[in-house]
Subunit: 183 residues, 3 copies
Amino acid sequence: MIRDDFKAIYRNDPAARGLEPILYAGLHAIFWQRLAHRLYKWELRFIARLISQLTRFFTGIEIHPGATLGKGLFIDHGMGLVVGETTEIGENCVLFHNVTLGGTGKHAGKRHPTLGNNVLVGTGAIILGPVNIGNNVYIGANTFIYMCDVPDNATVVGTPGRIVRLDGRAVDLPLPRTVHSTE
Amino acid sequence: MIRDDFKAIYRNDPAARGLEPILYAGLHAIFWQRLAHRLYKWELRFIARLISQLTRFFTGIEIHPGATLGKGLFIDHGMGLVVGETTEIGENCVLFHNVTLGGTGKHAGKRHPTLGNNVLVGTGAIILGPVNIGNNVYIGANTFIYMCDVPDNATVVGTPGRIVRLDGRAVDLPLPRTVHSTE
Amino acid sequence: MIRDDFKAIYRNDPAARGLEPILYAGLHAIFWQRLAHRLYKWELRFIARLISQLTRFFTGIEIHPGATLGKGLFIDHGMGLVVGETTEIGENCVLFHNVTLGGTGKHAGKRHPTLGNNVLVGTGAIILGPVNIGNNVYIGANTFIYMCDVPDNATVVGTPGRIVRLDGRAVDLPLPRTVHSTE
């Protein structure tokens, strides 16, 4: 797992040289979250949360121990990143600083986003609610998505987010609204 | 005071279980700011500011000692939150991470926002200037408000912020411009 | 250099009184980056990067050691600020918290912005790519600029950023697209 996370840095960051990635706060945050997630599943919730809060102090990155992170995840810079308890992230995703994968405050149970594989979420983007983000999705910096799904192979930008590229073609489409069972 | 802040966490956060809230950086930041605010009023400004900067280091939350915080305040996540010197916050408010209650750089004396009771300010929202935010106001994530007031019972979203809900009815209104004596 | 940075705080921040600026995280971050930048130029890249990451831990401010900072720079609050490796910043600039001077992921070599003199970049503004920002430029809070240049004496706001003031007159113009040799 750690090796995949390490490789993900070299694959994505042109500023990563030599051993520099061992200094990256994003790598540390992912390492400790994977440990906290195991404790969380063993119902050791307070210790899991303690690790999560200590990691937040050391890295500026706050990922709830309940979140499920896929392999090959790269967090670039990461300061201000917040990932909620019921978030699920696929493989080979990239998250930048100040990204929020959060809740709406109006849902119970599954409250946070699900991301597919090869998803990039740009700086300051905010995704709220139990929404589904497809595979090979690019979400631009400062994009805002609230209770909307994103199809595969889409590029989404703006506030509120709109699809500006789909399956390699330029488009301009609104996002489909998420239907959620406990709303 | 601390008990009210503690209760505010359980009231607002579905992820708060058992004793977990004692780990919350937002709770720590509010506790130390209330102490720094007392020192600030006794004109012990340097010590007050020192506490404020140490709190910023430990929590990622920067609240100027001069700010007046009402009871039952809940800061969720909190990283990147900045609250200016002459800010006033009413009772039972909720502030998320990366919220800025700041100045415009063009005003003297009262330079920062005043929030009523039961105000929620979403992730990344920026409110600048000596503006008045009413009671029971909901300000969406990433909303930008510059020298504009918000009436009671309003929901505001967008850049620049517009009223999309007022007294329970869907509307689409611009915000009234703030009139300020020292402008 | 340090004296200029110190003076820049008093010039820009109405809340700075007495010796308070010695507590400012922005001042610390600039001091350590200037040192790290020297080591970076001597090809001591790992040590430079280590200083940069330690500074990020202590201040919440992440400036790559490769970035060139002009004199009289003021970083206000600073939490979440990210400045990329090939960024160049002129004299007497002001950067607020959560500002990103970053790359697009699509360029090689010079990948980050160049700022002129007397440039102010507001809270949460994101500028991506090897773009040129002129002199005496004001970039509003939460503004988003992607591969576009900004002329001298301009005020830019919005997502995407538009020129709303130029040479002292109110206008409404799109930003000219950046032409880059390695695109």
